[in-house]
């Protein structure tokens, strides 16, 4: 594993529970993703994602309830528009669109979660560390023990 | 603007750099006011630090920011000093999180003090409300420490409810004194309160201290100050006899950053103490 910084914004009701399930079921998945739990993907202001990139994140993953299953009925419908627009805008900002991914994982899809994280981590791994972001505040890289969560 | 004070505590060589200090004690005054007792970490500075009543300081929570407060302790107390802080914004909220042992940084003292030397031999009337007692507390300590230099001392201190009155221990001491005429008042009646009830300006009018050979000092919420000034005027106090201390948004505290000016005068260096007569000469930009 690497010193990549991956940030995951997960909705509380589906994806966080799905990730939890993957964990309790001891499914094998890389441990680089730093998860931030939010009530709903509707709370994911695209600026949170951009701020993460400017502060040195190498990849950002957003995951919520499947369309139609939002705990608040419509939060992820709003999110879908915003996140899709962000996805299309990233190249203009000078950020590789491949560093961002949004998807839907339900509370019962532990296996799917493990796949999503594995694929995403692999993808960012191949893209490598993000270039100097231009943010003077991008802090010094924190040396961390590589770790992997597995059974 | 009244007395020029040498600025010993802020280093003339680097006036924007604060000195580390440690919180000795946090006293909860009211639901949103706390008094911090602080001491400079540098023992020599802690020993030599002195100020005069009315002077202000800049308290930093490094990381959250810096804000200006009146020094509220007795100038005669050596080794430590107090700031009394009302929780209102980002920095004051961080200040309210502090506990004994926490590290802060301080630039003090700044600004001009009350012209207490000029007041010798006169009667002094202090009129204050809420957190406005902070600078007057320091002044009162000073006057009591030099009690023989002054004639009658009167303090009217008010707040909305008994729970909003600060400095409980000090108030007990002040009430016990015979050489101080002290009235604490609250805005409306309240169970458990057998003291004075009434708005500060009306209580001052009832007490009716004579303006002859007297000086009045007022500090409190803007609305209280406005009516207190009207009352004092009615009672015959001239503008040269009335003093107040101003509060403005400040950053540098040394007359450079450009925010706190009233016309050409800077509250941080020319104030914060002004007589009403002096204020009358300045543009109305309060």
């Amino acid at each position: 594993m690497s010193d990549l910084k991956l940030i995951g914004f997960l909705c509380n009701w589906c994806s966080y529970a799905g990730a939890d399930m993957a964990g309790t079921a001891r499914m094998k998945q890389p441990g680089d993703l730093r998860v931030i739990r939010l009530p709903c993907t509707g709370r994911v202001n695209p600026l949170l994602i951009l701020k993460a990139f400017l502060e040195g994140a190498d990849g950002v993953l957003v995951s919520g309830c499947h369309p139609g299953d939002c705990h608040y009925n419509v939060g992820n419908y709003h999110a879908r528009r915003r996140l899709e627009l962000l996805q299309r805008m990233l190249p203009a900002y000078g950020i590789d669109a491949g560093r961002f991914h949004y998807t839907w994982v339900s509370a019962s899809e532990g296996a799917r979660w493990a796949d999503v994280v594995s694929d995403f981590t692999k993808r960012i791994d191949s893209l490598g560390k993000i270039g100097t972001s231009g943010s003077a505040k991008a802090g010094p890289a924190v040396a961390e023990e590589p770790r992997i969560l597995e059974s | 603007m009244s007395t020029s004070i040498p600025q010993e505590g802020i280093k003339a060589t680097d006036p924007l750099r604060p000195e580390p200090a440690t919180v000795l004690e946090v006293i909860t005054e009211t639901a949103n006011i706390r008094t911090l007792r602080l001491a400079f970490d540098d023992p020599a500075l802690a020993e030599s630090f002195s100020f005069l009543p009315g002077q202000i300081g800049q308290l930093s929570i490094l990381g959250a920011g810096e804000s200006t407060f009146a020094l509220s302790s007795a100038p005669s107390r050596k080794g430590s000093f107090d700031f009394s802080v009302m929780r209102t914004g980002v920095v004051t909220s961080a200040i309210h999180e502090l506990a004994a042992g926490d590290r802060v940084a301080v630039r003090a003292p700044m600004g001009c003090a009350f012209p207490t030397d000029d007041w010798k031999g006169r009667n002094i009337v202090l009129v204050s409300g809420g957190i406005g007692m902070a600078p007057l507390r320091s002044l009162l300590f000073y006057l009591l420490d030099h009690r023989d230099d002054y004639e009658d001392l009167t303090l009217v201190y008010g707040a909305r409810t008994p729970d909003d009155l600060c400095f409980a221990q000090d108030r007990r001491d002040w009430e016990a004194r015979t050489d101080l005429d002290f009235v604490a008042t609250i805005d409306t009646t309240c169970s458990g309160w057998d003291g004075c009830v009434g708005l500060v300006p009306s209580v001052v009018e009832e007490k009716a201290p004579s303006p002859d050979n007297a000086v009045a000092v007022t500090c409190g919420p803007p609305i209280m100050i406005r009516y207190a000034l009207q009352s004092l005027d009615k009672m015959g106090f001239r503008e040269e006899q009335v003093y107040t201390t101003l509060e403005r948004r400040m950053k540098c505290g040394i007359g450079l950053c450009g925010r706190c000016n009233l016309g050409p005068k800077y509250v941080c260096t020319d104030g914060p103490v002004f007589s009403l007569a002096e204020l009358r000469e300045l543009p109305d930009e309060l």
């Binding site: - | 750099r17 810096e66 914004g89 961080a94 950053k251 040394i254 950053c257 450009g258």
Partner: protein, 367 residues
């Protein structure tokens, strides 16, 4: 009079650089629609001595952002800090700062500034340094020295290019000797055939001109440009207080303004600043000083919600009064050198000369 040939100018800058100096020179930036700014010069960088820069050169003494000092909450034993997750720069100010029990607060001053050469400033830029000295580098006058300003100022050599042409926004002739002003400069350069004439103003300038890249010449300097002139600006110090309370006037002259901060940020003499802390992680950070502008509402906004200058007109009034009344009263100099940058760059087409003329007219009327 000394002379340096055109092709020797990069070499001159190179020699400053090689001597350990930071060199600032005007340059047109790529993809900027012709914006010329004073930038840190590096070998090979072009310089633009023809166009007037959009921003002043005040960065060299009052950087847009500077570190005042660094601080660290250093563990001296004890457990983890009381703070929550993240510092203020990341997650708001929720976490308690102030250090955990056993932590010490260490404050480290910013490192000293290297010597600096400002090349290609104009008389209005150089004079502005002189005007700022009256406040920032004048212990008798202002009561404090600003050590950061002072150390930069002491380490600064100013090489000024005299203007033989000017544009429609220039009005330095309204102030003292105008374009021929030498205050603030160490050397004055004049355009000449094949290069630049150089005249020393200070001892430091003299020493530099003795260098091998300069030669003695009999040429004499060309005539300098004469700009538009407004008479009577000195009288505003006493006149402006007379119209202070005429809010209709301030409203009227500022109605075009959209309340951005360009006029203050582009100005060579506007010096107001903000002080703020920036965390790096949650145990350390630095206190910074950054340009601030009196045209912003938040500048004087108090936490209680009260704002002593609640409207644009109040803020504009303060700006004009500060420059033409308060500063002259306190520091003895007008806080303006007539460079015209606030006019050229104003997105709303507001011309300070119109405002000053109106103010002169209005105040004469009321007196």
């Amino acid at each position: 009079m000394r002379f340096i040939s055109g092709e020797n100018i990069p070499e001159l800058l190179e020699s400053f650089s090689a001597g350990g100096s930071v060199v600032w020179a005007p340059r047109e930036l790529t993809g900027s629609g012709g914006t010329v700014l004073f930038e840190r010069w590096q070998t090979g960088d072009p310089i633009d001595l023809e166009h007037f820069s959009s921003l002043s050169a005040k960065d060299v003494v009052l950087p847009r952002t500077e570190k005042l000092f660094g601080y660290t909450y250093a563990f001296g034993g004890g457990g983890l800090g009381t703070s929550g997750l993240g510092g203020p720069s990341v997650g708001g100010l929720g976490g308690a700062l102030g250090g955990a029990p056993g932590e010490k607060l260490v404050i480290e001053p910013a490192p000293p500034e290297p010597p600096t050469v400002l090349f290609g400033a104009r008389a209005c830029d150089a004079k502005a340094l002189n005007v700022l000295d009256a406040l920032f580098n004048n212990p008798e006058g202002s009561g404090y020295k600003d050590p950061q300003y002072q150390s930069r100022r002491d380490a600064l050599t100013v090489i000024t290019l005299a203007c033989t042409t000017c544009d429609e926004a220039c009005f330095c002739s309204s102030f003292g000797s105008g374009n021929a002003e030498k205050a603030g400069s160490d050397i004055i350069l004049y355009p000449a055939d094949g290069g630049l004439l150089a005249e020393a103003v200070t001892k430091a300038g003299e020493a530099l001109l003795a260098g091998p890249l300069f030669e003695e010449t009999q040429m004499s300097p060309p005539p300098l440009a004469e700009t538009t002139r407004i008479e009577g600006l000195e009288s505003l110090e006493k006149k402006l207080p007379g119209i202070f309370d005429d809010m209709d006037f301030w409203q009227r002259i500022s109605e075009r303004c959209i309340s951005c901060g360009f006029c203050t940020y582009g100005c060579p003499t506007c010096y107001c600043f903000n002080i703020h802390d920036e965390m790096k992680g949650d145990r350390e950070g630095e206190r910074q000083r950054t340009w601030d502008a009196c045209m912003f509402a938040l500048y004087t906004q108090e936490t209680s919600g009260h704002n002593p200058r609640p409207t644009l007109a109040h803020r504009y009034r303060n700006r004009i009064n500060h420059k033409f009344s308060y500063y002259p009263e306190n520091q003895g100099m007008i806080l303006c050198t007539g460079c015209g940058r606030c006019i050229r760059g104003c997105p709303a087409g507001l011309d300070i000369r119109d405002v000053l003329s109106e103010a002169l007219k209005e105040s004469s009327k009321e007196q």
